[in-house]
Subunit: 419 residues, 2 copies
């Protein structure tokens, strides 16, 4: 199968591209490298020293004999998007190419508007390009479990049968997203559902939980393939961030009471879920939703697990409850159905002590690269003007964010920079 | 009360501004005149010869002694939006300032992306400006009944209590919008609900039905105050369009079987509903939804009513069922709750023969202004490249839409052009 991975230079996109390539699919990567730009904007770096994409794919070719063409293109540039689809002729596209951080979207007005217009317009362009050029292509879109929020009823996979005043219908599950980023994914979901209905496109919307881990079988083949590992308050997600904090002796930063419960999954399951969705495509016109996570934990649970694992490695791990910078329930009901990927054959990796050990050891290995000034939360949901850049990175401007990088940039077309 | 009407030069905004001004409120208008630009883009004109806004407000001042300052500003320009709020210091804003035509949003990719980014980013800017400058200001946002689509259960006002697997919650009513325009309103609704939750803003989201009529008590005071009356396939809504068609002997254009049922209301009720919402504001942090319509009709019902009324005036009225350019159910269940505005004291104007007579007479009066080449539907939901401009308006370019006008324009600030 010919699969174009949009955002294939990122944390989930890169291991997905290699996994699919290793399994015999013809894989291409489209990326605008915005994620690397945002590291510069925020003054942060992935814990692991990742290589430039052209090095990574060259190394993968040496190791595997398999070529991954790269399209340097931005989805908000329609011509570039269409050029890439026309050139690669994918049977499926896996769409990770969005601004994916909730805190980034909550920095200020510019970042909120950027996140929504970037994600929504990029996805709209993709939908139009698919309809015009590849109408049978399967769109596998990364959504998030955060689209649902935390309702007081069980969360179903995308749709719910509602009986009301003696009548029944199956309707989209009500959404209560918790940031401008999560809202952008809800907007995307509605747009995609509509395009499947009017144009007969086929799409799988994967409402993914919080991903942890950094290693897959393919990445393990060479240190030069190493994946990103974000630990900063803006792009670092809970479990990975806790492991780095434990490794460097920083208190684990639990926001509020820590009863916030979410679905989680190992990145090895992310790449497998994508392939399962690809191998079992929806029919033309079908918009389907899978809840893509394997276990649920509260934030406090996770912190305890990391403390326990850290102590066994001889680390002194403190848990600190901080005032919650987010507006969210800290104790709530949470039960979300996630059977559709299991039905397709997913065999989940449960969160194990050995996984935590391995994460902690990676963090310890790279602990000299950790910048401690980017760990504490600076982005407060209640403020419209948050200061994100560490003091050292600001020169007189009091660390005010200068606006999202890449917002006005339009790449000149879908240049194939490696083939 | 100080009320800023955003989009106050438009079909609903203008009569709303005058109604509120006549009732003793201090009213300002903010508009970017995009609606007038789109007439030029599409080669259409309102049936009624409306005057420029500066003439209209000057005439209103002569007639009423009341001043309506005008802010020439675009909501997608944050500085201009903030300047206007800072200068006018409104207690409430009534937000009509969006691209509001479903067919316009379905012309092609450019119009779809423009509609969503314009409406979503404009409303986001407004939310940030309110939070930063007028956090207690009441936002009255115009949504649409079309956000709900046509579910097989009763439509509630914004929220529905769902009992599921033995648990209960009150959740946002599931949305199934039917165009990129309707989708933009759903996106807005989610964004506004979120900002009320995190920032304590107060908002009323009015899910309005299809508005008909053109006259209110205030507009009737002088011909120079006349409101727009759109009959073209892009901006003309069903009942008004049918009346013009009847007046000029054009068959009434019923799309498909005509069983499509929607909520409708008289424009005199629109302006009254706005005032009722303003006089009964939500509490801080509250996001509430009113379904703003008074009666429901199927499209075939409406066509029959216009035929009947037309025949009594001696017109020969033919009804023509066209292949439906939209993707929508043509026979379906439709029952939507609309009690909250009635509870606040709305006394609805039912659709009467005298109203139809008056609309038909206005259409007859201006029938020499009708362009028959803009009536038949050209915008097909199934196509991504629709030809909208009448042949005469195109010069060699085969009538291809050149992209939405106003998309890249940024007004230089909130110039007060009349005070």
């Amino acid at each position: 199968m010919r699969v174009l991975v949009l955002g294939g230079d990122g944390y989930c996109g890169w291991p997905t591209a290699l996994h699919l390539s290793a399994r015999g699919h013809e894989v291409g990567i489209l990326d605008n490298f915005a994620r690397r730009l945002w590291d510069h904007e925020l003054g942060v770096e992935t814990l692991t020293p990742i290589r430039p994409l052209h090095d990574r794919v060259a190394l993968w070719r040496e190791l595997s004999g398999r070529t991954i063409p790269v399209f340097a293109a931005d989805l908000t540039n329609y011509a570039a998007t269409a050029d890439a689809l026309a050139a690669f002729e994918p049977d499926a596209v896996v769409h990770y190419a969005e601004q994916r951080s909730a805190p980034y979207s909550m920095i200020d007005r510019e970042h909120a508007v950027f996140t929504q217009t970037n994600n929504v317009a990029g996805t709209l362009n993709l939908l139009f390009a698919l309809k015009e050029l590849r109408p049978d292509c399967h769109l596998v879109k990364l959504g998030t479990m955060g689209e649902y929020g935390t309702p007081n009823i069980d969360i179903e996979e995308g749709f719910i049968e509602i009986e009301h005043k003696g009548r029944k219908d199956v309707l989209p599950f009500p959404k209560q997203p918790g940031s401008f980023y999560h809202l952008s994914k809800v907007h995307d979901s509605h747009n995609i559902m509509f395009c499947c209905r009017i144009w007969g496109l086929r799409a799988t919307d994967l409402n993914q939980g919080v991903v942890y881990g950094t290693m897959t079988d393919e990445l393990a083949r060479h240190p030069g393939l190493v994946n990103r590992f974000d630990y900063d308050e803006v792009f670092g997600t809970a479990l990975n961030r806790f492991c780095v904090q434990a490794a460097i002796g920083h208190p684990l930063t639990v926001y509020g009471r820590g009863g916030q419960t979410r679905g989680f999954l190992d990145i090895r399951d992310t790449v497998r879920c994508i392939e399962l969705a690809l191998l079992n495509p929806p029919r033309a016109g079908e918009y389907r939703v899978f809840n893509q996570f394997t276990e649920r934990f509260s934030i406090a649970d996770l912190a305890e697990k990391v403390r326990h694992a850290g102590q066994k490695l001889g680390l002194r791990v403190e848990i600190r409850h901080l005032p919650n910078p987010r507006v969210e329930k800290e104790e709530h009901y949470y039960n979300a159905v996630h059977t559709r990927l299991l039905d397709l054959g997913l065999e989940p990796h449960a969160l194990s002590e050995s996984l935590l050990d391995s994460l902690l050891n990676i963090a310890i290995e790279h602990r000299d690269r950790v910048r401690t000034d980017v760990i504490m939360p600076r982005v407060d949901w209640r403020s419209t003007r948050n200061r994100t850049r560490p003091a050292a990175a600001s020169d007189g401007a009091a660390g005010e964010a200068p606006g999202p990088l890449g917002a006005a940039r339009e790449t000149p077309g879908a240049a194939i920079i490696f083939k």
